[in-house]
């Protein structure tokens, strides 16, 4: 049995601000990290891998430096890692990324269970999971917050919906996207870090995957960003100043104005 976890490299901070002098966009990211939502998927893979005696793979599409994050995932308990890296993949939107990942999973011989974080913090689209499941031709369940039962052929899971949850059975092979807090991702141990550095790792390009050039990278991406901007601000705010007591007084006036009744 094989379990594959999709892992994305994201900037450690999403802070983007306007340079007050040049009025241009400046990003403050200092380090690339594993998408925090993916860490729950990694932990679930490790737990299910132990329970079902399955081989666990981390898979990512990204720049060569992503190897570091994949090895970190192995330090946390995954068995092996695969990086899909090629200049031809650059500019991929979710459709092209899902296609590329599906080739990687095919290359490893298919997976009985594919796990994704519910979304990536830098894109917030939450589309990769369902699109990848479609490319693989397997069913999917999003926002899974609990795996109640797991056998090599079937899972019983709970997923979050608005105002509640649903309990579902899912026949494998299938893909799940997991919600935050489905588990508590473990930290690696020293022994784990040692393993991570030695773990089996494979890097593959478009040719090795047999990718159709029309379906990868920017060319295979139907959507395209045509403009980015920091939105215009509204009118100037009224500045309240003074010591804490004065400010409290002013705030109370504003609150009373809103709640429409005078002072008691």
């Amino acid at each position: 049995m094989r379990i594959a976890v999709c892992i994305k490299q994201v900037p450690s901070t999403n802070e983007v601000r306007m340079d007050p002098v040049t009025h241009t966009i400046v990003r403050d990211a200092r380090q690339s990290v594993t998408n925090p939502f993916d860490s729950y998927a990694i932990e679930l893979a490790v737990q299910l891998g132990q329970k079902l005696n399955a081989e666990t793979w981390g898979i990512s599409m990204g720049i060569p430096a992503t190897e570091r994050l994949l090895r970190d995932a192995c330090a946390r308990g995954l068995d092996k890692a695969m990086l899909l890296t090629d200049r031809a993949f650059a500019g991929a939107d979710t459709l092209a990324t899902a296609y590329t990942l599906s080739l990687g999973i095919g290359y490893m011989g298919g997976a009985d269970l594919v796990l994704c974080g519910r979304m990536a913090v830098d894109g917030d689209t939450a589309q990769i999971g369902p699109e990848l499941a479609e490319h693989l031709g397997i069913p999917h369940v999003t926002d899974v917050c609990e795996v109640i039962e797991a056998t090599p052929t079937k899972l019983v899971v709970r997923r979050l919906i608005e105002g509640g949850t649903q309990r579902l059975t899912v026949r494998l092979p299938a893909l799940l996207t997991v919600a935050k807090d489905i588990n508590q991702p473990r930290m690696p141990s020293i022994a784990g870090v040692r393993y991570g550095l030695e773990a089996p790792f494979v890097a593959l390009g478009a040719a090795e995957l047999g990718a159709d050039p029309a379906h990868i990278g920017l060319a295979g991406s139907p959507t395209q960003v045509v403009r980015t901007y920091v939105p215009e601000r509204g009118g100037e705010a009224i500045a309240l100043e003074g010591d804490a007591a004065t400010l409290a007084e002013r705030l109370l006036e504003i609150i009373e104005e809103v709640s429409g009744h005078g002072r008691a």
Partner: protein, 397 residues
């Protein structure tokens, strides 16, 4: 292969693009911008940074759809137990507005077990046609039977645009459909616009972690698909005099039993911050888990609710149900007191409906001040403590 192009005649060597690049792929050489193609991820962020139009992304397209054969704007109208969700009506109204400009029609997709009774409300909201599919397999919101019906309809009727509400189900179903028909999908749009001549849908959403707005389009592929969060678009006033046609659709072809619903547990709707009149909202700037108690105390004193930014939920100071923003709830209180919230675009996307905003932050450059009616540059803990003490004193507590 696609690549980033710098027009050296236009480039004035100002260097603005260099600082905008998240990948560190841009640099200056000989007073001109230069791109390292091995590092560039073609994210497009630099396009907006160049004031001289010197940067472009050249794209050689894969399979192009026969665009001209696609027509009309469709809205998928999700229902629960036969009741259409408000977001479907909001989308129909938006679709109506876009269709008027494009000169096309609006169709609603209504799928479920027994849902025919709801069709007229969709017409009243602005639909010209309702595609109605009733079947036991559609009784629960499960992706596979829904995707089968919708893709079949897309293939036979070729809509130019297809919109979904960004509910849990919509966000799961739409990408499944998009991948099956091999087209683009833009999640969580906050603005939709249309080019009346080409029918190109301009989809605007917070991007890059919600700190920037990005306008995205799907130039070649059809239909153009997008999801929009509930509550972002205004609800329509139903026009009960409108007429339209109801077109029955054949039920899902095949048995979809890979995913089976065993049980649905709905917790009785707790008082949601979406309905609160006063919200005291905390951001990471409150500087410590313990200061959440101040926020909670003030909210209680004011009979309001506690809200928070995503950062606060991420570090575990509050539960997700308090989260305001693009990935949380859209709120529309009479008063929002934002404490230590910097005001990322992703947060601001959720407070568009707030009537009055008071922002307290130590950083005078915090973007939250840009949307605030009142601003206090200072330590919110100090201000909150004083305000709480003051209210308690007034009430003799």
């Amino acid at each position: 292969m696609a690549e980033l192009k710098i027009n050296l005649d236009r480039c004035v060597g100002c260097g603005l693009c260099v600082s905008s690049c998240p990948a560190g792929a841009l640099s200056m050489a000989d007073k001109k911008a230069r791109v390292d193609p091995d590092t560039c991820v073609l994210c497009g962020l630099c396009l907006g940074s160049c004031r001289f139009g010197a940067i472009s992304i050249e794209k050689d397209h894969g399979g192009a759809a026969d665009r001209d054969s696609y027509r009309d704007i469709w809205v998928f109208c999700e229902q629960r137990s036969g009741a259409v969700l408000d977001v479907g009506l909001e989308l129909i109204a938006k679709a109506r507005e876009l269709a008027e400009r494009r000169g096309c029609r609006v169709a609603a997709l209504l799928l479920g077990r027994q849902v025919a009774h709801a069709a007229h409300s969709l017409i009243a909201a602005g639909a010209d046609t309702v595609y109605l599919c009733e079947d036991a397999q559609l009784g629960h919101n499960l992706e596979l039977p829904y995707a089968e019906v919708i893709t079949r309809l897309i293939r036979s009727h070729r809509p130019e645009i297809l919109l979904f509400g960004a509910t849990a189900f919509g966000r799961s179903l739409a990408p499944r459909v998009a991948a099956r028909v091999q087209t683009g999908l833009t999640a969580d749009c906050t603005e939709l616009d249309i080019d009346p001549d080409t029918g190109l849908l301009l989809q605007t959403r917070p991007a890059f972690g919600g700190n920037l707005m990005a306008t995205i389009h799907t130039q070649i592929f059809r239909p153009q698909m997008a999801t929009v969060r509930p509550g972002v678009l205004p609800a329509p006033t139903p026009d009960l005099t409108r007429t339209g046609e109801i077109v029955p659709v054949a039920p899902p072809e095949g048995l979809f039993d890979a995913v089976v619903l065993l049980e649905e547990v709905l917790t009785p709707p707790a008082a949601s911050i979406a309905d609160a009149e006063i919200i005291v909202a905390a951001g990471r700037g409150i500087d410590g888990h313990k200061n959440m108690a101040l926020v909670e105390e003030l909210a209680e004193l004011l009979g309001g609710a506690v809200g928070c930014s995503r950062a606060v939920v991420d570090i575990g100071w509050a539960e997700y149900r308090h989260q305001i923003g693009q990935t949380g709830l859209a709120v529309s209180p009479k008063l929002l007191i934002a404490c230590g919230i910097s005001g990322s675009i992703q947060f601001l996307a959720g407070i568009g409906g707030a009537q009055k905003v008071v922002a307290i932050n130590t950083d005078p450059e915090a973007p939250i001040f840009g949307v605030a009616d009142y601003k206090i540059v200072g330590d919110c803990v100090e201000v909150l403590s004083a305000l709480i003490a003051r209210i308690k004193a007034d009430r003799g507590l």
